[in-house]
Each structure stands twice: as structure tokens, then as C-alpha cells.
């Protein structure tokens, strides 16, 4: 986790909020550093994490996690982390008997209408331990990322239904958190992605949007992060609160600074 980002979000692993949906969004840049941040953040916060990783392999996240101070191998072995490696298990779908349910079953079906098997997998993974002692603080679902589900043939409404059910189970029933990454291609022709992004934005409590700089690529400033805090149901006398920072990704950390205040420029 990046301490500077924790400061911006005004949170620490000890004081993590519960029952929240955080939406990560990237436009014209790679927002995966936010996924690594939240993965290590929630592991350090002693939460049980279910990570649906559809983009990269386990070893990739493990290597980055080690730079940030968590070991995914150890977490998986002791049961804190349930890791669905999409790249590997998608091949298993074709070598299993068809009757056995598989979270990525929709890859095999011609007319998969919903992501219920994936939801059942998440529900099972984050089931509270029956022996009564609360080993982990709260369940967390992390998805990297949702846009790839659209590319695999699911419709935006199917993905929204999946997140709806995850919210009902993880956020409301078990008071856990969900963090999901969605790409914003900026393409107005891509209606499905826009429906997914806007639909999730309306349900989120926190939106982190990583954007590339409007002026192009820069060696010292890798992009801009917009943070929007939302309260979807509670009235606030002020409008929802938003901040914008620029950032530079280094080997083991990310440094944030106000716009135009990069150390390289000052």
C-alpha cells in the first residue's frame, strides 16, 4: 500500500471503513497500481480478501505485493486470501466435466446470461467462518477488472447484476468492502462500457479515477488522480467532495503532489 495515498484518502489499515464500494477507473493510462494498493492495504488490515484476478497471473501480483510488503503466497496458505487466477482457471473450464460448476463457466456456454456461478464462488469464498471466532476483520472482494468481462461477451447489465449481488452479500449482509477496476476507453461508441462505468459510479462511495495527462506522456508526472467521495443516500449540505492530484509511480511507492507541483518542475 502507498502511505501517501492513505493520507489522501484519510484512512489507515486500522481504521478501514466497512460496507463501501470503491470504484477504480482509468482513462488513457494504467490504473493497476491502485489495485495493488488496495490488495496490500486490505491484507495488512487483516481482512479476508477474495481476489478475482482476470488480467494478470498470481506471480505478477505476488512480485508487486512483495515490493509493497505483503506476501500473497503466505496469505493464500493461511486462508486470508482466496485467489481466482482467471488466466489459469479459464483453461480448466474446458477440461472439467460440464456438470461441475465453475466460476468462469460463462466462457464455455453459448448463451451465458448472467454471472451467477462467479457470484456463488465469491459468496462461498467470503463465507464467515463457522467456529465463531472472528479470524479476519471483514470480507473484501477485489476485482481486476470488470471491463474484461464485457470483452468476453457478457453484457453490461449482467456485470451490473453480478456487482449488485456482490454488494448485497459482501457490503450489506457481511459489512465488507468491494473494490473493482473498470477501464474508461473514452470511446463514446462503446455504450456497454459506459453503461457499466456510469452504473457503478452511481452505486459507489468512493471513486478513484486515474487519467493520463491531457498534454501527453511525461517522464516525471505519470498521470493525474481524481478522488470523488460520494454519499449515495445520505443528504449532505455540501455536494460530494472531490480532489485532484498528480502522481509519479516509482519502484516501491507512488508519490502524489498537487497539480503543477512536481519536484521535477519546481
Amino acid at each position: 500500500m502507498f502511505p501517501e495515498l492513505n493520507n489522501l484518502l484519510n484512512t489507515t489499515p486500522d481504521r478501514a471503513e466497512q460496507g463501501k464500494l470503491t470504484l477504480l477507473c482509468d482513462a488513457n493510462t494504467d490504473g493497476s497500481f491502485l489495485v495493488h494498493h488496495f490488495l496490500s492495504f486490505y491484507l495488512k488490515a487483516n481482512c479476508k480478501v477474495c481476489f478475482v484476478a482476470l488480467i494478470q497471473s498470481f506471480s505478477h501480483y505476488n512480485i508487486v505485493g512483495q515490493k509493497l510488503g505483503v506476501s500473497l503466497t503466505v496469505a493464500r496458505e493461511c486462508g486470508q486470501l482466496v485467489f481466482l487466477e482467471g488466466l489459469k482457471s479459464s483453461v480448466d473450464v474446458f477440461f472439467r466435466a460440464q456438470a461441475e460448476p465453475h466460476p468462469l463457466q460463462f466462457l464455455r456456454e453459448a448463451n451465458a446470461e448472467n454471472l451467477q456461478p462467479l457470484y456463488e464462488f465469491v459468496r462461498e469464498a467470503l463465507k464467515p467462518v463457522d467456529d465463531g471466532e472472528a479470524a479476519w476483520r471483514c470480507p473484501v472482494l477485489l476485482v481486476d477488472d470488470l471491463s474484461v468481462l464485457l470483452s468476453l461477451g457478457m453484457g453490461a447489465v449482467a456485470v451490473l447484476d453480478f456487482i449488485h449481488y456482490c454488494r448485497a452479500t459482501v457490503c450489506w449482509e457481511r459489512k465488507g468492502n468491494i473494490v473493482a477496476l473498470v477501464h474508461d476507453s473514452g470511446d463514446t461508441e462503446d455504450e456497454e462500457n459506459n453503461i457499466l462505468l456510469n452504473g457503478l459510479s452511481h452505486q459507489s462511495h468512493l471513486i478513484l479515477r486515474a487519467e493520463g495527462l491531457a498534454t501527453g506522456f511525461c517522464r516525471d508526472v505519470h498521470g493525474q488522480l481524481r478522488i470523488l467521495w460520494r454519499t449515495p443516500s445520505q443528504p449532505t449540505t455540501q455536494r460530494d467532495w472531490s480532489l485532484t492530484y498528480q502522481y509519479k509511480i516509482q519502484d516501491k511507492s507512488v508519490s502524489f503532489f498537487a497539480k503543477g507541483m512536481s519536484p521535477a518542475v519546481l
Binding site: E109, A110, N111, A112, E113, N114, Q116, Y119, L150, S151, L152, G153, M154, G155, A156, V157, A158, L160, D161, H164, Y165, A168, W172, T188, D190, E191, E192, N193, N194, I195, N198, G199, S201, H202, Q203, I207, L228, R230, T231, P232, S233, Q234, P235, T236, T237, Q238, R239, D240, S242
Partner: protein, 363 residues
């Protein structure tokens, strides 16, 4: 809803148009100002077609004239991500409940506890809540889900309302519109008011008020237009400088639609606070204290012109500019045929040969 395998990002089976980002005025009686990267419409009491000659107390809203609209529903409140509208929806529900009406709520997007938060117990006891959040598609197969899916739940709501003034709140219309065909949703909304009119004694306009929340970035102009045409009032929420505003478009039968902008805020106890006008700091004005800097003041060379130089420059005629003087000069024949003469003074070394050197050329 995937349109088919093997096609990335298959087009949805229902026509989905781009949601217009512009906040139109329009109040949906239930809309919330949506947070979105743009604003939302909120619905206010004024959007109700209810017959009410009295002032609505704390709001200070204008009394509504009696309406004889055939369908008693108010319009959608359109919100966006930045200006959320659910709090406005809840404020309207509170008003309806305090007015002694029955309030039926179809909750799809948030849990019942989250929706009921903020209402005090007397109001909460008057709200009839239909929970479509926990298991809308019956995946859990526990038998607790509302039968018939979202459409069945909507129809069941119609059947369970008692005669008398009733407010129906749909949170949200966007959720329903994404999962039901637009035509089926519109028909269900129309049927709602018809059934209520059949059951109750008075005209439907006085009895039934439907508030619906719409997130305007999610839908294209087609479905939005269809819902707007059903609505008697549309509230679109937006805002500037931290202050939320509601643009209300009211359609009354046989009258011109009226457009009104209200600045409001929803207080923590879910009462509506209307302000008179836009916040002062939203009006841009130039800062009088910033001195104007002259860029040509501290240079090592002179860029300024004296008065004579300026006059000479202004009176200069450019050689290739076709002015009226030039036109006259060309039109008028010259005063002498020989336009130019050469005066040559030969010196000692010049060899003047009177013969024409080009004489041998056959030109």
C-alpha cells in the same frame, strides 16, 4: 444480456442510446439529483400534479392549481454522479408521509436499511417497502424473492395500494429500465394510475403520485424521451459552487410547459430547504485588483510609436492594396503618353554606338 458469444462487446438486444449529459429540466417525481460527473435533477413538491391549494409549509413552494391530468404521475428526477438525487427523493417521500398519504417504495439500488436511514420512526412506520435489492433475480432460490421479477414486483405494487392519496416512489427507474423493455415499463406505469383510478373514488390526478429516480448518463434519448412524455414534471439536478439546483419542466394539459430553476439543499433530517437564487460566488467577475501588465514596458528596444510616426503609418498606402485612389488612377488615362524618361550623362569612357545592338535579330 450479452448479445452473443464470440463478439466482443456485443450490442445490447434493446436499443440503448447514449444518455444525454445535458441536464434538461424535468423533474421526475422521484428523481434524485444524480451525482455524476454532471448534475441530477431532483424532484420537488412542485412537480406533483396533486391538487393542493395550500402552501407546502416549510418548503415555501407555490401552491399548485388543481389539475385534471388523466395520469397522476409526476415525472422522473434525473440525477448524475456528482449531484445525487436519492436524498431529494427521500425528502419528497418524507413530505408525502407527513401529509398523511400512503407511501409505497420499490427499492432496487440500495438496501432497505440504507434507504430508511434518516427517516424518523413515525415516518418509517408509514412506508411500505418492497425490497428488490436483496435478491431481485431469484438467484438464491430461497423463495423470499418477490415473484415475477422486477416487472412482477411493479405490478404487485399497483395491486396493493389502497384507495386514497398515495405516493409511489421508484428507486430507481434506471435500474428497472436497464432490465425491462422500455415499452413494458411505460405500460406498467400507465397501468398503475389506471388501476388506482378504478379502485379509488376521485380522479386519478388527485390520488396517485409516482416519483421515479433516473440516472441520466445511463440511458439514451429514446428511453428518456419515452419516460419524459409520460411525466407531468421532470426535475433535473445539477449545481454550481457546491449548491444544488433543480431545473423543473412542468407540463400541464392545454398549457405551455413551464421551466423553472430552484436552488435547494436537503438537510440532514431530510427536509427541503429552498434558496432564492444562485450562490453569489458562482457569478464570475474580473478581479479589480489585478493590475494590467504592459508587455512592452521593460525592453531594451523601443516598440512604441510617436504621434507623428503613428500618423505617417496610418496614412501609408500599401503597394498591393487596391484602394479607390488606385482604381481612379487606373481608370483615368495618364496625363502624358511617355510615363518615364531616362536621363543619361555619358562620361569619357563610354562608347556610345548609335546602332541598335539587337538590329540583327529578326524580332
Amino acid at each position: 444480456m450479452g448479445a452473443g458469444r464470440g463478439k466482443p462487446r456485443a450490442l445490447p438486444t434493446r436499443p440503448q442510446y447514449r444518455a444525454s449529459a445535458e441536464g434538461g429540466s424535468g423533474a421526475d417525481p422521484g428523481g434524485e439529483a444524480g451525482p455524476a460527473w454532471s448534475g441530477v435533477g431532483g424532484a420537488g413538491d412542485v412537480s406533483r400534479p396533486r391538487v393542493s391549494g395550500r402552501r407546502t409549509g416549510s418548503c415555501g413552494l407555490l401552491p399548485l392549481p388543481p389539475t385534471t391530468a388523466p395520469n397522476g404521475s409526476s415525472g422522473p428526477s434525473r440525477d448524475s454522479v456528482e449531484w445525487e438525487g436519492r436524498s431529494l427523493l427521500k425528502a419528497l417521500i418524507k413530505k408525502a408521509a407527513l401529509g398523511g398519504e400512503q407511501v409505497h417504495i420499490l427499492g432496487c439500488e440500495v438496501s432497505e436499511e440504507e434507504f430508511r436511514a434518516g427517516f424518523d420512526s413515525s415516518i418509517n412506520s408509514r412506508l411500505v417497502y418492497y425490497d428488490l435489492f436483496r435478491d431481485p433475480l431469484n438467484w438464491a432460490q430461497t423463495g423470499e424473492a418477490l415473484p415475477g421479477g422486477p416487472l412482477g414486483a411493479l405490478q404487485a405494487m399497483c395491486e396493493r395500494t389502497d384507495p386514497g392519496p398515495v405516493t409511489v416512489a421508484l428507486d430507481s427507474l434506471s435500474w428497472l429500465l436497464l432490465r425491462l423493455p422500455c415499452a413494458a415499463l411505460c405500460q406498467a406505469l400507465c397501468a398503475m394510475s389506471r388501476q388506482h383510478a378504478c379502485r379509488g373514488g376521485g380522479p386519478a390526478a388527485e390520488q396517485l403520485c409516482v416519483l421515479g429516480l433516473l440516472h441520466r448518463e445511463l440511458h439514451g434519448p429514446g428511453p428518456m424521451g419515452a419516460l419524459s412524455s409520460l411525466a407531468q414534471a421532470e426535475v433535473t439536478l445539477s449545481g454550481t459552487a457546491g449548491q444544488a439546483s433543480a431545473h423543473m419542466l412542468r407540463r400541464r394539459p392545454r398549457q405551455r410547459p413551464t421551466l423553472e430553476t430552484l436552488w435547494f439543499s436537503v438537510l440532514p433530517d431530510l427536509s427541503l430547504d429552498l434558496q432564492g437564487g444562485p450562490p453569489l460566488e458562482s457569478q464570475p467577475h474580473p478581479d479589480p485588483h489585478t493590475p494590467q501588465v504592459d508587455p512592452a514596458s521593460h525592453l531594451t528596444f523601443n516598440l512604441h510609436l510617436s504621434k507623428r510616426e503613428r500618423e505617417a503609418k496610418d496614412s501609408l498606402t500599401l503597394p498591393f492594396q487596391f484602394s479607390s485612389e488606385k482604381q481612379q488612377a487606373l481608370l483615368r488615362p495618364g496625363p502624358s503618353p511617355a510615363t518615364s524618361r531616362i536621363f543619361y550623362e555619358p562620361d569619357a569612357f563610354d562608347d556610345l554606338d548609335p546602332e541598335d545592338p539587337d538590329g540583327d535579330l529578326d524580332v
